[in-house]
């Protein structure tokens, strides 16, 4: 549909708009914001959260992963920590955990689509990253190990960043606190997610955002202090 045709379509639709608005207002009124929380700014993550809620995950594992009753604490799960796009979470969702000492075994969700599994996994990772960010930002600053920071950089950062290009003299550009903030929550990702192609003509921004979220949910305080110590030397 081209833009002109789209305008004509909108004018035609206008007559039906009041009832559409009415339906929308009704559905918004029914939305349980007291339980689910206000809609997230990112509509994709909001959809992921709703999938997490609709399949009953939130009922046991908690809306923000604080478990209710005997459910597994996904904030502390090693499996979740190493999951990428649902590759480990998905198989568990599909078959459940029938053998367990708990009174209610984890149900199986064999009817989930691959997309639904990715959505559920994405929301779980988002919650973990959000919580870890808050925890690490509240930690008092410590002294890091330069060599360990360099090793961490080579393993986790060097495939996308370069100390000769975007990270050149980064230790002069930011002070210690600013570096810590940039590591945990890079300024480039503080804007709403966009599907617009990046200045490189691709979607690396989306990839980068995903990679940083995976890093963020698993950073330890020591990791962060080590990277800060290393980046401080790049002047």
């Amino acid at each position: 549909m081209n833009r002109k045709f789209f305008s004509a379509f909108c004018i035609l639709l206008n007559g039906a708009l009041p009832s559409a608005v009415c339906v929308m207002a009704q559905s918004v009124a029914d939305y349980d914001s007291a339980y689910i929380g206000s809609p997230l700014p990112d509509p994709i993550m909001q959809h992921n959260k709703e999938t997490f809620v609709l399949y009953g995950c939130a009922y046991c594992h908690g809306m923000y992963l604080k478990p209710v009753g005997e459910a597994t604490d996904l904030r502390r799960s090693v499996i979740v920590a190493t999951d990428v796009n649902g590759n480990l979470i998905g198989p568990i969702l599909r078959v459940g955990i029938p053998q367990t000492p708990k009174s209610s075994p984890m149900p199986q969700f064999s009817d989930l689509s691959d997309q639904e599994i990715r959505s559920i996994a994405a929301y779980i990772h988002y919650c973990r990253a959000t919580e870890n960010y808050k925890a690490l930002m509240n930690e008092p600053a410590g002294s890091g190990n330069l060599a360990a920071g360099q090793a961490f950089y080579q393993k986790n950062c060097a495939s996308c960043h370069s100390i000769d290009m975007d990270f050149k003299a980064i230790g002069s550009k930011y002070n210690e606190n600013e570096l810590r903030e940039q590591i945990l929550d890079p300024a480039r990702f503080r804007i709403p997610r966009s599907s617009k192609l990046s200045d490189l003509g691709d979607t690396k921004m989306i990839e980068g955002r995903t990679k940083h979220q995976i890093l963020l949910e698993n950073y330890s305080k020591t990791d962060v202090e080590n990277i800060v110590a290393y980046l401080r030397t790049l002047k």
Binding site: D30, D32, Y59, E70, P98, P101, S103, P107, Q108, F109
Partner: protein
């Protein structure tokens, strides 16, 4: 027990004549089925969560956002009334203080709770009962897990504490206590309800890997054998997930079933589902209870996900049941 006995049993616990207060505080658009009887000089609250002879109640787990503590009890009552129920299965946490706070170990918290239960004065529970009476809601069962707790992982109920729990339930007007305890704990509890002219209900889950769990018809039968006062709170969701036949179970054991936790799940340990989307024969269960005039209370309960409020979801489930019982 025939239907007349059943009516007596329910009405004995039906809220007192103070219902005017509770009703006046209801929202104007409330869809509650509790109404004042205009012909009654006392203005008695009618127990109207009966649909074509089937008595309904609610398991408050339905209100997922509402933390189960005594501070939230007024809001719980408001929602129960709004949903139009006159019977509730009340979990002890709606009545008891919480001791598991920061700085207190699980063992210490457990000891404090025990001491509190044993020493709680009768007036404390009488006041809670009055709150429910005034709102037109009867407490049918009192839910306490007197078993290995997954939270602190030890069996530690003393006889004194079990007695205190039944006494509390009695004052609240409950006809029985219920818990999700296993067979070994049920055996130990079996002599207690008789002392209070009450029953002790066992509630099934779907864990088939634990030989002590209440999960299948066979496990229920073992529990029933411990004492005539051991009854069933039959959870249709978990029974379905454990591949049980709900209708066959009702047919064979209806005399030992005091209430049903009515909800839908998929078989083979499947997920909870909105009414009509799982494998639980919800409509058939309701028709069976109605057509046979069994005095089994239907407690609505759901664990499936929804974007709607608990009140809206319960209303939709209750409407489903009403359509099934036309």
């Amino acid at each position: 027990m025939n239907r007349r006995d059943f009516a007596k049993m329910v009405l004995v616990g039906t809220p007192s004549l103070l219902g005017l207060h509770g009703c006046s505080s209801r929202e104007p658009n409330s869809n509650s089925n509790l109404t004042l009887d205009a012909d009654s000089p006392q203005g008695k609250v009618q127990n109207n969560s009966v649909v074509n002879g089937v008595q309904f109640g609610i398991q408050p787990f339905c209100y997922h956002d509402l933390v189960m503590n005594r501070e939230n009890r007024p809001e719980l009552l408001r929602r129960i009334v709004k949903n139009g129920f006159s019977l509730v299965e009340l979990h002890a946490t709606w009545c008891e203080p919480r001791f598991n706070v920061a700085g207190v170990s699980a063992v210490e918290a457990r000891e404090k709770l025990r001491e509190w239960r044993i020493s709680a004065p009768p007036d404390y529970y009488q006041t809670i009962r009055s709150e429910f009476d005034q709102a037109g809601v009867s407490i049918f069962t009192y839910y306490v897990n007197m078993d290995i707790s997954y939270q602190n992982n030890f069996i530690d109920y003393t006889d004194e504490e079990i007695d205190a729990t039944f006494r509390a339930a009695k004052i609240l007007g409950a006809k029985g206590c219920i818990g999700s305890q296993g067979l070994s704990a049920t055996k130990r509890l079996a002599p207690f309800p008789r002392k209070y002219d009450m029953f002790m209900s066992v509630h099934n889950h779907s864990n088939l890997s634990d030989p002590d769990a209440i999960n299948t018809e066979e496990s229920f039968v073992k529990a029933f054998a411990f004492s005539p006062e051991i009854m069933a709170t039959f959870d249709t969701r978990h029974f379905t997930a454990a591949n049980g036949d709900c209708l066959a179970f009702l047919e064979r054991h209806h005399e030992r079933i005091r209430n049903v936790h009515l909800g839908d799940r998929r078989k083979n340990q499947g997920r909870s589902a909105p009414f009509g989307e799982g494998d639980t024969p919800i409509i058939e269960i309701l028709r069976m209870i109605k057509d046979n005039e069994w005095p089994i209370i239907v407690m609505l309960e759901f664990e499936h996900g929804t974007l709607r409020t608990g009140v809206k979801e319960v209303q939709s489930m209750f409407d489903y049941c009403k359509r099934a019982l036309v």
